[in-house]
Structure formats: C-alpha cells, structure tokens
C-alpha cells in the first residue's frame, strides 16, 4: 500500500515513468486546451490533497474550502495591486492569512462532528462570500483584474505560453503530496486517524484532540490558499463568483471522494477523471447555457457515490486484492 511504508520496485518504476511523461506533456502536446485541462487537473488535485488532510484523515468533511481558495486569491491580488507586493510573497501571505482564518473557525467548530461540521463549514464560506460580494475595498461583485507585469518566474506571470504555469502547479501538487505523505506516515497522521476512529478513545489516550484538528485545518487552509493565488495569477481575473462559491468547495470534495478519501493518491486520480470530464463537457455542451453539462456531471456524481462509494482507488485495490 501507498499509504504506509516504502514503495515497492514496481511502484518506483511506475511513478518515474509517470513523472517523466508529465514533464514532457506540454512540450509534446500542441494547443493550449490540453495544457489548460492538465493545469486544472493539478490545481484541483492539489486542493483535493489539502482537503484530504482534513476530511480523509480527520473526518472533518469541509464543504467550505472555497473560502480559503478565495482568501489566497484575493490576498495576493490585493497586495500586488495596492501595495506592489510580489505575488510570491503574496502567495505566502495568503497562505498564512488562510491558516489563521482556519484556526479562527476551527476553534469554535472543533467539537462539531460529521454533518454539523460540514454545515458549519458551508456557513463560514458563505459568510466570506457574502462579505466579499459587498466589500468595496475588493471591488465587491465587480471583481479584480490583475495588473499585467512582464513575464518572468519572479513575477509569477507568463503571457506567451501556459507551460510555465503547468510546471509551477505540478511542483505545488508534488509539494502537497509530500506534505500529505509526511503527515500520514508520522505521528500526526496516526493521531488524526485515531481521532477519526473514536473521539473518546483518542481523548482517553491523551491525544490533544483540538490541537491536532487545528493543525490539520491550518495546513489544509494554507495549501488551498496557495492554489487560490495560483488561480489568480493564471486567470488574471478574480471575482466572488469565480473563487468563493459553493460549487468550488463541492468540486474539491468530489475530487477527493471520487479518487478515494483518506488515500494519498486518491485526489490525484479523482481530479484526473473529474476535471477533464467537466472541462470537456463544458466546452462541448455548456456554451448554450442549457445545463446539459452540469446534468451529466450531477448524474455521474450520484451514480458513483451510490454504487461505488469507496472511490476509484478503493475499486482498484479491491480488484487487486481479489486478483491475488
């Protein structure tokens, strides 16, 4: 298993080949659309991994990740526009701010379980959305267009090609995976899983329940805010409708669930399935605004969660087990 211990020889070969293929992708494939789809896959995979630290290991099913995403996007953008702060610094500032917000919301919600936590996270994210929608300082519902800087890695902005964005988000994703792997194989991962299994038992074992849940929220919020800054730098326009709405939070949960919650690679698989599907159906069927694309999307979600609730990763491992 990937979640524990070392990789086997075959897995090392598999991941090396995959990694080289991913590095070569923007060089081999022509056209901007495939690269764009891959960027969206990595972006949501990263958010799925961040969600997983909360939901997969600690069973805190957050449906409010859009709040952290939006805070990341807005913080770096406002810092750049109003104070001429470099986006990389903005990225870090957004992460810290989101982590603090996460802690602020995590303390009152730390005793909530299951559905109550899920609803509290929606309520929190909706408050943030409503506020940004009316806040003159961030141009309210009008949204912000980022000032165009000369393209360079230092400016976190590229105009001639999507490839640099592709590599940056790939690095972000790998970083998130490493953090998630580190957590899952170390003390914190075991504590979070113990809390998930039984609150009372974990408390009895002397595990500081509130502290580890707070750590999980803060790490998850930081990574999600990083994704938010990336999104702002990539799209160059943000408004509450594009970075703070509930469907983004839901998409993040779906990515994690579809792949298999609580596994390291699950969200990556989930994103690799869901994002191309939603991007392609949007382009093919969504242009008339008929709702067909979202209909297919909804139908897929309900069928998968009803008939394959362990996710694709769970499905694959069960096949592998029965094959042995």
């Amino acid at each position: 298993m990937m979640t524990m211990g070392k990789l086997t020889g075959r897995q090392i070969v598999f991941y090396t080949v995959l990694f080289i293929a991913l590095l070569a992708f923007p060089l081999v494939v022509k056209g901007t659309f495939p690269t764009h789809v891959m960027i969206m896959v990595f972006l949501f995979a990263m958010m799925g991994v961040a969600w997983n630290i909360l939901g997969g290991y600690a069973a805190m099913f957050s449906f409010g990740q859009a709040a952290f995403f939006g805070i990341g996007a807005y913080t770096s953008t406002i810092l750049l526009m109003n104070y001429n702060v470099n986006p990389w610094v903005g990225l870090f500032a957004g992460g810290v701010l989101a982590a603090l917000m996460g802690a602020a919301i995590g303390i009152p919600c730390s005793n909530l379980r299951g559905h109550y936590f899920a609803i509290a996270s929606i309520a929190f994210a909706e408050i943030v959305r409503i506020h940004f929608n009316n806040w003159k300082f961030v141009a309210a519902a009008e949204g912000l267009s980022l000032p165009l800087l000369p393209e360079s890695l230092g400016n976190f902005m590229f105009h001639s090609s999507k490839a640099p964005y592709y590599y940056i988000i790939l690095v972000f994703l790998l970083l998130s995976l490493l953090i998630c792997r580190y957590i899952s194989t170390n003390r914190m991962g075991f504590y979070l899983r113990a809390i998930k299994e039984s609150h009372e038992l974990a408390k009895g074992m002397g595990i500081s329940f509130v502290r580890y849940r707070l750590y999980a929220i803060m790490i998850s919020a930081f990574l999600t805010a990083m994704a938010g800054t990336f999104y702002a730098q990539y799209i160059l326009y943000i408004d509450p409708e594009s970075v703070l709405i509930l469907p983004i939070s839901v998409q993040v949960v779906l990515v994690a669930m579809l792949g298999g919650a609580g596994t390291i690679m699950g969200p990556v698989i989930g994103a690799a399935i869901l994002l191309p599907l939603s991007e392609i159906t949007r382009v093919w069927l969504g242009y008339k605004g008929t709702g067909v694309d979202m209909m297919i999307y909804g139908a897929l979600i309900m069928v998968i969660s009803a008939y394959q609730p362990q996710g694709v990763w769970g499905f694959l491992t069960s096949i592998r087990r029965s094959a042995k």
Partner: protein
C-alpha cells in the same frame, strides 16, 4: 415600537413559517436516517414548478395544486430513496453527504434544460392582494401560506404521535437496532420518512409559488438556510426545526433592517455558527 419595526417583524414571522415547513421535512430525514439531503431545496423547486405549470397550462390555482405536489413529491422521494440513497446507507459517511449533492446538481440543471433559467411568477393567484390593518398591510398569500405551514406541521406532529406508522418512525429515529428487533421494517420506515419529508417540501413549494419567483436555482438559498435551521433546532427535532425556522426568519429580516439587507443571510449563518459553538447539539437536541 415604530410601525416599520412591526412590519419587519411580521415579514420575518411570515418567511419564518415558510422556513419551518421546509425544514421539518429535512429534519425528519436527517433524524431518521442521519443523512443530510442536499437536494431538499431542489424538491422545493420541483413543487414550485409543478404548481406553476398546473396554473399556466390548465388554469389550476396553486391552492388546489397542493395535494398534487404532495403526492408527486412523495413518489419522487420514495424512488430517489429506493434507487440512490438506500445504496449509501451502510456506506462511508462521505458518500452519504455527496450522493444528494449529485441529485441536487442533476435536478437543478434538468430544470434549466427543460424550462430555461428564467424567472417566472404566477401572475394572479386566487389568493391575492393584502389585508389592511390601519397602515400595516398583510399579504394574503403569505398569511395563508403561514397558516398552511402551521397546519401541516401540526398534522405531521399528530401523525408521528398518534398513528402506528408514525410511532414506528419515531422509534427508528430513537434507536434503529432496537426498532428492528421490535419487528419494525426499518428499511420501509426510511423510504417512508424520505417520501414524507419530500412531500412536505413539495407542499411548501406550492405555497411559496403563490408569491415568490419561480426559477431552477431557487433552491440555493433556501437549501443553505434550511440546513442551518435543522442544525440549529437540533438533530431530527421537529419542534426544534419549527421554532428555529421562525427564529431565523425574524433574525434575517431584523438583521437586514438594522444592519444591511445585503448581509441578511450572512447574519443568519453567523448566528448558526455562534449557536453551535455554545451548544453543538443545537437548541432542542
């Protein structure tokens, strides 16, 4: 008390009764099955459109569509339970949360496809206009809807307390395995609760269609508000949901009046967060 304030309070109360009716269906499903139905408010939308089309195509007034909506949504709820929700009852908690999200997205966008995202309204329902008390005006459809909401809630309450089936539902809510041991068919109770919960929100939809805009995404805000009401009222508590619904209706309108109308929902969500912080189990849980 200023006259404005009386009007605001009354509006809060009127919307609150509607919220209560929407939320008691949701809390019943939540209480019996421990599942949040994220598609609940989309069932509301189906109820509203049913009433709209009956009025537009056949000239049937919304007040007479109520039984149609109740039956239609009952059947729909039963089928959705049988073919989708029942499959996740023993599955992972996350799948239980997500399956109804899928249903919600599917229903709302099917409505967009069939009826376009336009806003519609029932122009002249039978119950129309206002009653005047001095300078204070009371909207007739809203008042009737509120009375209807109270009556339906009362009927549900009596059904659960007095009939054998109702008692079986309550028993399942209290302790599923004991109920099963006592010979209650809990699977049937689940399906029935889901169907009744859906039917109630269908009735709410018919009432709401008399004075509210009808469009495919109408479920959005009502959905979020009703989750807060249910959680605020306490896990599966019908009385709790009823009271919390009225409370939230009043908080929303007064908050909008004293503070800023744009923030009225934010105030409701903030109130929810503060309440569960102090009482994680809700008011009556």
């Amino acid at each position: 008390m200023s006259e404005q304030l009386v009007v605001q309070l009354m509006n809060g109360l009127l919307i609150g009764f509607m919220y209560s009716l929407i939320a008691i269906g949701l809390t019943m499903i939540w209480g019996v099955m421990n599942i949040i139905n994220f598609a609940h408010a989309d069932f509301l939308m189906i109820g509203m459109f049913t009433s709209f089309w009956l009025y537009t195509l056949y000239g049937i007034d919304p007040i007479f569509s109520i039984p149609v909506c109740a039956v239609l949504l009952f059947v729909m709820g039963w089928l959705i339970y049988k073919y989708l929700v029942s499959k996740v009852m023993t599955g992972p908690a996350l799948a239980q949360l997500v399956v109804t999200f899928g249903i919600s997205i599917f229903i709302a966008n099917t409505a967009v496809l069939l009826w376009t995202p336009d806003f519609r309204m029932i122009e002249k329902p039978l119950l129309y206009g206002t009653w005047n008390f001095g300078t204070v005006q009371l909207s007739i459809p809203k008042a009737v809807a509120s009375i209807g909401s109270v009556l339906v809630s009362l009927a549900l309450f009596l059904f659960l307390r007095k009939t054998k089936t109702g008692k079986a539902i309550l028993a399942t809510e209290m302790n599923r395995s004991s109920a099963l041991l006592m010979g209650i068919n809990t699977e049937r109770v689940n399906a029935l609760s889901f169907a009744i919960g859906s039917s109630l929100v269908g009735v709410a939809g018919a009432f709401l269609s008399m004075y509210y805009y009808i469009y495919p995404q109408v479920g959005g805000t009502f959905g979020l508000i009703s989750f807060c009401i249910v959680a605020l009222g306490g896990f599966g508590s019908i009385e709790g949901a009823f009271i919390a619904g009225i409370l939230i209706g009043i908080v929303q309108t007064l908050g909008g009046y004293f503070f800023d109308p744009a923030y009225k929902y934010a105030i409701v969500f903030a109130m929810y967060l503060i309440t569960v912080w102090i009482r994680p189990q809700g008011l009556m849980g």
